[in-house]
Amino acid sequence: MSAEAPAVSMIAAPASPVDVTGHGDGGPAPRHIIVGYGFWIFLISDIVMFSAFFAAYAVLASATAGGPGPKQLFDLHNVAIETACLLLSSFSCGIASLAVADRRIWLTQGALLVTGLLGATFLGLEVHEFAHLVAANAGPERSAFLSSFFALVGCHGAHITAGLLWLGTMMAQFQAKGFRADIRRRYLCFSLFWHALDIVWVAIFSLVYLNGALT
């Protein structure tokens, strides 16, 4: 790539980052900026949707209908392991982004595999927790608190499931099509999605689990 550098400097140089003010100076934005912005709008709308589930949970958290409350049900050790899994998978997703930028296929695939395995571990722990709750007669039908809990945490789990499917697709596409520009933009969107899900999980483990353990 660096061998091409003189050729680039021969043409009228694209505006240097210093000249670009973000108000249209320096020509249209690069395509990956535009694609990233579009996907960012989707992520914001997704987070607004999550906020409705958070609001429902916050309002209904005390409506236990005589059933078990957060303190009796939540196992913070399990939550700590889930949190570690998701944080580390977010990190290895970032390593995969660097590997994609450097065109290192095996590092990309390895980092994505680690991301997927950690995500799957998280999902397994969550399914295990849900099964445990349902078996203990604390399923979503038990009280308004549990309905809103399963809706909120289950919605996040559904996003993780979709993310894992997307991740598998990305690994196959990198293998089959290589580091093509459109595949890399697709991967940019996936990495934004995965990191955003970790942000939602920060809100869940803080507001649902840790706050629940206090009351």
């Binding site: 790539m1 660096s2 091409e4 550098a5 050729a7 680039v8 021969m10 043409i11 694209p14 980052p17 670009v20 003010t21 973000g22 020509g27 934005a29 690069p30 990956h32 900026i33 990233g36 912005y37 960012w40 709008i41 914001i44 987070i47 607004v48 906020s51 958070f54 609001a55 429902a56 916050a58 309002v59 949190t83 570690a84 944080l87 580390l88 977010s90 990190f91 970032g94 390593i95 982004s97 660097l98 994609v100 930028a101 450097d102 520009a181 940019l188 934004l192 990191h195 955003a196 970790d198 942000i199 920060v202 809100a203 483990f205 803080s206 507001l207 840790l210 706050n211 353990a213 206090l214």
Partner: protein
């Protein structure tokens, strides 16, 4: 997003405006940034789990501590993992984020406020029974 995260391979050097142009990307610098983000996020996570167990924080202040730590960690994720910066090509993303934060605040705080107000106004069971008589 940093410009150099997803560069196109340099073609013949004839790049149309709006098409990504090759810029040098540094694996090492990127890795260092992700490691810093991971370390701070992990420290904040440990701190919030610690805040639940400790007796060093005044009991009524613990929820506030947890919320503060969560907001701090979200900021760390935004900066180090989602690469939200003050760079010019990020102004639109920051504005969209600000709009999203306002809506989230309206939905969550508004719901809590309205529902708390409603349940305060709701007559208790005793009062309802008295009204029926």
């Amino acid at each position: 997003m940093k410009d150099n995260v997803f560069p196109l391979p340099a073609g013949d050097g004839d790049i149309a405006p709006g098409v990504d142009n090759e810029e040098h990307s540094s694996f090492k610098a990127g890795l260092r940034s992700y490691l810093i983000g991971l370390a701070i996020a992990a420290a904040l996570t440990v701190a919030s789990f610690w805040a639940v167990d400790t007796h060093l924080i005044y009991g009524a202040g613990v929820p506030a501590a947890i919320v503060t730590l969560a907001i701090a960690q979200m900021g760390i994720h935004l900066v180090f993992f989602l690469h939200i910066t003050t760079a010019p090509d990020n102004t639109n993303n920051v504005l969209a984020l600000a709009f999203g934060v306002i809506i989230v605040a309206f939905v969550v705080l508004g719901s809590l406020w309205i529902m708390a107000h409603l349940s305060q106004m709701q007559p208790s069971m005793e009062q309802l029974m008295r009204m029926q008589r």
